[in-house]
Amino acid sequence: MELASFLQILDSTVRLATPLLFACIAGLYSERSGVFDIGLEGKMLVAAFAAASASYATGNVWIGTAAGIGAALLFAAIHGLASITFRGNQLISGVAINFLASGLTVVLGSTWFKLGGQTPALTDGARFADITLPFARPATESLSGVGFVSGFYSHVISGHSILVYVALLLVPATWWLLYRTRFGLRLRAVGENPAAVDTAGVSVVALRYSAVAITGLLCGLAGAYMSMGLSAGFLREMTAGRGYIALAALIFAKWRPWYALAACMLFGLLDAVAIRFQNIDIGLLVIPVQFTQALPYILTVIILAGFVGKAIPPRAGGEPYVKER
């Protein structure tokens, strides 16, 4: 494969992986604290919608981002209320949140904008601009005749919106928070054995709420990136199952931040490759496009079966913490 296409695929990978990474790390916080979250999809969707709406109304991408985060936090609060305070079933609550986001975004969207659940297209100030890092060639410049290192830097590393870098920084930051701080220690402990945390004099409820809130925050960023970074506006169901893929990546990553980066990059890469190579003509027969499109999923299964061992979730995950009865 020529270098240019290779770089282009990597470039595409970074973009496609970013929302996954946000959502995956988001899920990591919640699940590490013992609260399973299959509502990542819903939180991303509602955040994408809120972000696009606010950004459209104000023309300010940061207000949009704040609105996205706010909406996702609200949904996270619902999940927290159901699964922490009221000891409800975390799976059910997550499913409900996905339905809620899917319905509410369209109902509100079509009422406000009368575009069938779509927001109007965002103009430049209301979107994230791509950042060109120092020494990088502008992204518009042609890829031909570029050396690998400079090409890699200019096209894969540079030239993304700020949130891409936030997402990438999130990985070491999460690692550090998880393994080097008091909060991280308690967070990991509460997902493994809440009773140990409780008897050590730390509030299980407060810890879990803060974890769920972080999840909301990051899902908010994921949504904001999708509607204001990758696209210019909201479209119904625009998350297109990425929340579920992020969840798969989280399991894949065994709930660890660096592995999460690898897993999300892998999913991004498979997706980018599938986009690039559609009909593969190998002389005698043409491999149908459907096969290429299914390939990322097939490869995931193969990798999972072949190279990834058993993933053991946080031990207290999915169970509300109940002392009595």
Partner: protein, 303 residues
């Protein structure tokens, strides 16, 4: 009267516009319904029929089968279906020659392209979309026999029509492969394609409705499928709706390319001349655009 998932900025929105136009002009009222799933189609049709709606217009080939079953039960109600042929005495079937329209925009794309490479983004790999793609490819090759057409389908799951992020990514990928004009026939996904093309400073081509206004000066043209006209006609004919097949081709104004102030600067006089010429030749039969649906093959592209 009936629609399906409106405000997609293309197909269904066109239908809606047609209905609106009729309502404004005649002061008549119409009811609209959106479908959520298969079983509801029949339900909706029957309820509209029983409520005395006449005629009932439906958009999308997916209604074909249902209509076939429902129409005989309501012999006094007139139906019109768009994009599908249903052979019933009280049904008017409106089909468009998307291949011809796509040929025209393909021709323009071929001429507008500086790199000699153009792109096509389809939603899902279904026959209808292949017909678009095939007509387009023929048009491109007519303009530039050496041109390359990069064809992409978005996906196979139901989200394929609603995935602007992936649409944008495909557009970027095609751009990297040299494409500088991209034609999107992918519903909501197309919004992302057009956006990404505009962001990258390359041209795009809209579909179904006139989408030129979405990114003024950056959408080369739109392949217009005058669903609005079809709906409007159907409503206007009212209960006198003529059954039978109504082929809305170039000659009948069923398909066309869009030219307005938004894309006027992009369309050179030569381009316009060439397209008009092709249009005339197609209408006269001098140019035959191969229809993918006729034999499931395409001379200009492989799917």
């Amino acid at each position: 009267y009936d629609l399906g998932g409106k405000n997609d900025k293309s197909f269904n929105e066109a239908a809606f516009n047609g209905a609106e136009r009729w309502a404004k002009e005649t002061g008549g009222t119409y009811k609209e319904l959106e479908m959520q799933n298969e079983a509801q189609r029949e339900q909706a049709l029957r309820q509209l029929a029983e409520a005395g709606a006449n005629p009932i217009v439906m958009t999308g080939f997916a209604f074909g089968d249902t209509l076939n079953a429902v129409a005989p039960d309501y012999p006094d109600t007139k139906f019109a279906i768009i994009d599908m042929v249903v052979d019933q005495p009280n049904v008017k079937s409106v089909v468009f020659t998307e291949d011809q329209g796509s040929y025209l925009v393909g021709l323009m794309a071929g001429m507008a392209s500086k790199t000699g490479t153009v792109g096509f983004v389809g939603g899902m790999d279904i026959p209808l979309i292949r017909r678009f793609g095939c007509g387009y490819a023929q048009g491109v090759l007519a303009a530039n026999p050496n041109a390359k057409v990069v064809l992409n389908m978005t996906g196979t799951d139901p989200s394929a029509w609603n995935n602007p992020v992936k649409g944008a990514e495909i557009a970027k990928s095609q751009q990297a492969q040299g494409a500088d004009v991209i034609y999107a026939a992918a519903g909501g996904t197309g919004v992302g394609v057009l956006q990404a093309a505009a962001d990258m400073g390359i041209l795009s081509i809209g579909v179904d409705s006139n989408q030129n206004y979405l990114h003024p000066g950056q959408v080369l043209t739109s392949m217009m499928k005058r669903v609005d006209n079809a709906v409007y006609e159907a409503f206007k004919e009212g209960t006198d709706l003529k059954a039978g097949i109504n082929v809305m081709d170039l000659a009948a104004g069923g398909v066309d390319y869009a030219l307005d102030e938004n894309n006027a600067p992009l369309v050179t006089p030569e381009m316009k001349a060439a397209v008009e010429e092709a249009k005339a030749k197609i209408i006269s039969g001098e140019i035959k655009v191969h229809d993918y649906m006729s034999d499931n093959t395409c001379p200009a592209a492989t799917f």
